[in-house]
């Protein structure tokens, strides 16, 4: 149990803390940039990839019989949907590349932070 004199010393200790250095604020901002690169953007990328399987799945809408106009429409729908899946994959890739570029900067700054 902490005695009253120790508690007093502790409070004094807190009061006696020096002003934050520039380094403290920088570390907080760097941690935010790191979280953007390693948490927010990877989560976004993963969520963007979730619907890809639904978009690239094969389309079979044909009935028991064949009619050329229906065939063309369902084939065109398949192509259209495939395009959507490709774009969805591409935008997830763009998010990955953005996160990677940001993380590289954060890595360098983390090495330098505390050395200056």
């Amino acid at each position: 149990m902490v005695g009253s004199s120790q508690a007093h010393e502790y409070q004094l200790g807190v009061l006696a803390m020096p002003d934050p250095t520039p380094n403290d604020g920088f570390t907080v901002n760097l941690a935010d940039a790191d979280a953007a690169a390693t948490q927010s953007l990877p989560a976004a990328s993963s969520l963007l990839r979730d619907p890809v399987s639904k978009l690239v799945s094969l389309v079979d809408l044909e009935g028991a019989n064949v009619y050329s106009a229906s065939d063309r429409a369902t084939n065109m729908f398949g192509l259209y949907k495939e395009g959507l899946g490709r774009r969805q994959r591409e935008i997830a890739q763009v998010v990955d590349e953005t996160a990677e570029a940001l993380k590289d900067i954060v890595n360098v700054y983390q090495r330098v932070d505390g050395q200056v």
Binding site: D32, L61, R72, E90
Partner: protein, 318 residues
Amino acid sequence: VGADLGKSDEQVGHAIADMRAALNAMIEATGDGDGRGGEIDRLVEDDLNVSLSLDPKKIEDEFERLKQAAFQIGENAESVVMVRQAKDRLAAWHGGAADEFRMQLDRIELFVTENQYPAVAAAVQSLGALFSLAYHMRQSYYDLALAIRSCANHEIDQQQTRDAKLNLAIGKEIVLAIMAMNPATAVAAGLVAFVEAAGALGDQSIEGTGADAVIDAYRDRSIGLRETFESNLNQLSSRLHDDWAGQVDNDAKLEVMKPLKPITDVGSPDFSYEEFSTEEYPPGGPFADQVDVERKRYAQEEEEHDTEINKRLEGQDR
């Protein structure tokens, strides 16, 4: 509970087969319309092919899958929330690279909400149109078969009821009506809304008496239905093709798909601390100098690391 899928393969198939049998029996019984058996056979084959060319159950399954995808891509999708969060986390950073990252995150959000989401919503809408066509094809050919059968039976036996009044989708612009819907409404709608979007179907009446008149009436309605559905399906194909081509064209112009500016690349000579800095350490100070030294070392390490991976992939280290 799934949507009302309309008439089944069996219901449509039996109705058309029964109509064909009744028409042939009419020709035999009346001696009228002789020599038109081949014509009837061709019309029946077309009716069966058109009416059963799309599977409403498969379309319903695909519709549900695509609606889920649309909800994962929309404005309030979690992916978009995460992109916004990343941008918020970069709020304290200044310089050209910081601005470029924030702009890229804005571009990603815009791409998802303004390009991809409407495109997925349009796909949902197209499936709604396809479902509506599948439903109405089945229903119209089924109703036509029942009416023609009753007329044929009436020609054989005047005591039999003649159900000559019916509603058919002939001339209906189903695809146009559905594509005029607000895509957001389409994504939220159930399949029944697409079936109803066709509106009231036209009144039809099988006029005239005698076997030839019944066969003529059948021929005209059968061709009318085929032309209507062909025109609707072609409209849908053209719409999908044009939208798809437009997207391919647009994607090539999108800034978001282009590489990030070199100032965001810590290994590029264009990068400097000034391009990505905070107020705590001003550009031009010792921290900036140290960053310049460290980023070159980092870039070299990354290059060596990549070379090592390539060597391993090529099996040169064995």
